[in-house]
């Protein structure tokens, strides 16, 4: 109890509160601008942390990290530009809601449930940190491969009329991740002596292309640029961020709880992170919803699932970093770097040896979620006013933001061309009903899948596929993944037999 009081005392000092407000503002700003993200923000602010004491430095970095995860939904909803991979699923229902004139409502839902999801993740982190940290270490390569397989199976059902098309998209994503340097051995593959391919095809141009640019092509092809101000839904479009009503919160409560659990549990796996948690959460919610066909067409619960999970993973990702010194993501790697600069090595004993630091960070993480909600309302209103512009101007803004976001990655014009090509590919995929989400997840998880696949077989000492069923976790995930895929087929066969019998 005393440690909590010390933590509260530390966080609620004027200087630390100012750092919290500033950090969230910086994180939100960087996440809502293309070409920038929360890792860039954290790295840029690192020099300021050199002169700070460990507690203010960690509080500042945690605030930037939290703000960064929170801010990715703004562009995803308004312009269908998922600046970060974890905002991809928010696009699926957020962008259609914006097209229906419900931008304010979509942003309000995203902001509220991001904060609530973040709060859940932080509380789970506080309660379970020592235990979950040890469990994270028990995950071996076979478990990671099974997790990737499970994630791809669930994602194949997201936005697809049939899981087979989703799997083909996912496989295409895995094939794209093969281009470049192979992880572990450093051999160049499928590069055809082209310099840019030797560095691999990054997921940022692909995401910008298949989501934002493809949607732009779709808008032009369907003649929607002629209809400024016309929205497909009924009602007058609103230019305020609408905080969801109590009745909606009650309706979304179960989705919130499930997504929070998924986000926290997946977030604590090092390397898995916010992206996988948002995909898995969205896929599961769609699958078990009473009206799965409404997902991807502006169902607010889709935004709840995605944003809750990706923010809940924020607390989960801190667990392995604080307890084991294993960063769960690039952002926590930066935070770990700061701790080590201050001469602090995270370990399971850190709760005993440095309770002031740990509990101050926990209290800060709780407070951050409230500050995020407040500051994002301001940002949301700022961006919402951009939507009043004519469609032709919005087209230009989307293209420019995508070019900036893509070019800034490696200062390479080839990445911009890759984005343009994937814009065309994304449009063709949309017309032919192949889900782009699975393609993106395949690209993102491709390296992890290959590394864990190779390590699993090398540790087994033979190319035996049964090694992926050797642990309870891997066997369960593989079987559940297969069931998720074949469930629609089984349901269809059972339905036909029932009809014949009747």
């Amino acid at each position: 109890m005393q440690e909590w009081l010390i933590g509260l005392d530390q966080v609620f000092q004027w200087s630390n509160l100012l750092l919290l407000f500033l950090g969230v503002l910086i994180g939100l700003t960087f996440a809502s601008l293309p070409g920038l993200n929360n890792i860039t923000a954290m790295v840029l602010m690192m020099p300021f942390c050199f002169e700070m004491d460990p507690i203010p430095a960690m509080i500042f970095m945690a605030a930037i990290y939290g703000g960064g995860i929170h801010g990715g939904c703004i562009l995803a909803i308004l312009f269908r530009i998922p600046g970060e991979p974890q905002s991809v699923c928010t696009c699926f229902d957020g962008a259609p809601m914006a097209a229906q004139g419900k931008s304010g409502e979509a942003l309000g839902i995203a902001f509220l449930f991001s904060s609530l999801g973040g709060l859940f993740g932080v509380i789970a982190c506080i309660i379970c940190a020592p235990i979950l940290g040890r469990i994270a270490l028990m995950f071996g390569p076979t478990d990671y491969f099974a997790f990737v397989f499970f994630g791809l199976c669930v994602a194949s059902c997201v936005g697809a009329t049939s899981p087979l098309r989703g799997l083909i998209s996912a496989c295409a994503g895995l094939m794209l991740s093969l281009v470049g340097v192979s992880p572990g051995s450093g051999v160049l593959r499928y590069t055809a002596d082209i310099h840019i391919l030797a560095m691999g095809i990054k997921y940022v141009p692909i995401i910008m292309g298949v989501f934002a640019i493809a949607e732009l092509f779709k808008m032009v092809m369907e003649g929607k640029t002629a209809a400024e101000g016309e929205f497909t839904g009924s009602g007058v479009p609103t230019w305020m961020v609408n905080i969801p009503s109590l009745s909606f919160i009650r309706k979304a409560f179960k989705t919130y709880i499930r997504s929070s659990f998924v986000g926290t549990l997946i977030g604590f796996l090092p390397g898995a992170g916010a992206t996988a948690s948002s995909f898995v959460s969205y896929g599961l919610e769609q699958k078990y919803s009473k009206d799965p066909s409404s997902y991807g067409k502006g169902n607010p619960l889709g935004i709840v699932a995605s944003e809750t999970a990706n923010n809940a993973s924020y607390g989960g990702a801190m667990i392995p970093m604080l307890t084991m010194g294993i960063p769960g993501s690039s952002s926590t790697a930066v935070m770990l770097g700061i701790l080590m600069l201050k001469g602090i090595t995270p370990s399971p004993e850190v709760f005993m040896s440095m309770p002031n630091l740990v509990y101050s960070v926990f209290v800060a993480m709780v407070v951050i979620n409230f500050i995020m909600f407040g500051e994002s309302l301001f940002f949301g209103r700022l961006y919402l006013n951009l939507m009043k512009l004519p469609r032709s101007v919005i087209c230009f803004i989307i293209v420019t933001f995508c070019v900036v976001g893509t070019f800034s990655l490696r200062s390479s014009i080839e990445d911009v061309w890759i984005m343009a090509i994937f814009g065309v590919i994304g449009y063709i995929m949309m017309k032919c009903d192949f889900p782009v989400a699975s393609l993106v997840l395949g690209v993102i998880l491709g390296d992890m899948a290959e590394t864990s696949f190779i390590q699993s077989l090398d540790m087994a000492g033979s190319p035996n596929p049964l090694v992926f069923f050797s642990t309870p976790v891997s066997a369960s995930l593989m079987i559940i993944g297969v069931l998720v895929l074949i469930w629609p087929v089984l349901k269809k066969i059972y339905g036909r037999r029932k009809a014949v019998a009747a």
């Binding site: 496989c171 093969l178 051995s185 092809m221 230009f396 293209v399 900036v404 070019f407 017309k431 032919c432």
Partner: protein, 183 residues
């Protein structure tokens, strides 16, 4: 032949090509010690082959499904839906074909000219051309042009001058012109 079938056949060809190319990658045995006790090592080409074979099988299943099991009624219904969607698009925008061609040309021209002209000049030109070629609705071309030009200047100043993002500066005379606009 349906579009999906064509795409799947193309993917099968790509997967087969990648499968055969994977045999040209240097394998682990090249570096392993010449000893009978050397431990098993998964080769560089193993995972690509697994992915390519999986892709080939999945595409094959979809091709079979679409050619053997798809009912003609479903195919006809899909064609009707597409025709109706095309008619609705033409109703919204009678000059649709011109707008599509013009926008696609402008978009790809912007991608190509980004490096030689620089981000500042290319973006401003793109902003103006997009407003000229696409419908402006109730606001009118003049107002839309003014808004677009202002927004493009704000975007250029924000990313190049305030945030100092590394964006193309152009070549030759366009580089000097870009510097003049930004600074």
């Amino acid at each position: 032949m349906k579009r999906e079938v064509k795409i799947c056949l193309a993917l099968m060809v790509v997967a087969a090509a990648m499968f055969f190319v994977s045999f040209t990658f240097p394998e682990a045995s090249i570096w392993a010690a010449a000893s009978d006790d050397r431990p098993y090592q998964t080769g560089v080409g193993t995972w690509p082959r697994v992915v390519c074979v999986t892709m080939f099988i999945l595409c094959g299943l979809l091709v079979l499904n679409e050619t053997l099991f798809a009912s003609p009624r479903d195919t006809q219904a899909e064609r009707l839906v597409e025709q109706e969607a095309a008619e609705r698009s033409l109703q919204r925008d009678p000059n649709l074909r011109y707008h599509i061609l013009a926008f696609a040309s402008t978009f790809f021209a912007y991608m190509i000219l980004l490096l030689p002209l620089g981000f500042a000049i290319a973006t401003i030109l793109f902003a103006i051309v997009v407003v000229l070629i696409l419908p402006s609705g109730s606001l009118g071309k003049g107002k839309c042009l003014a808004i677009s030009f202002s927004v493009s200047i704000i975007v250029v100043v924000l990313f190049c001058r305030i945030l100092y993002l590394p964006l193309p500066r152009g070549m030759g005379i366009f580089r000097e012109l870009s510097q003049a606009i930004i600074f």
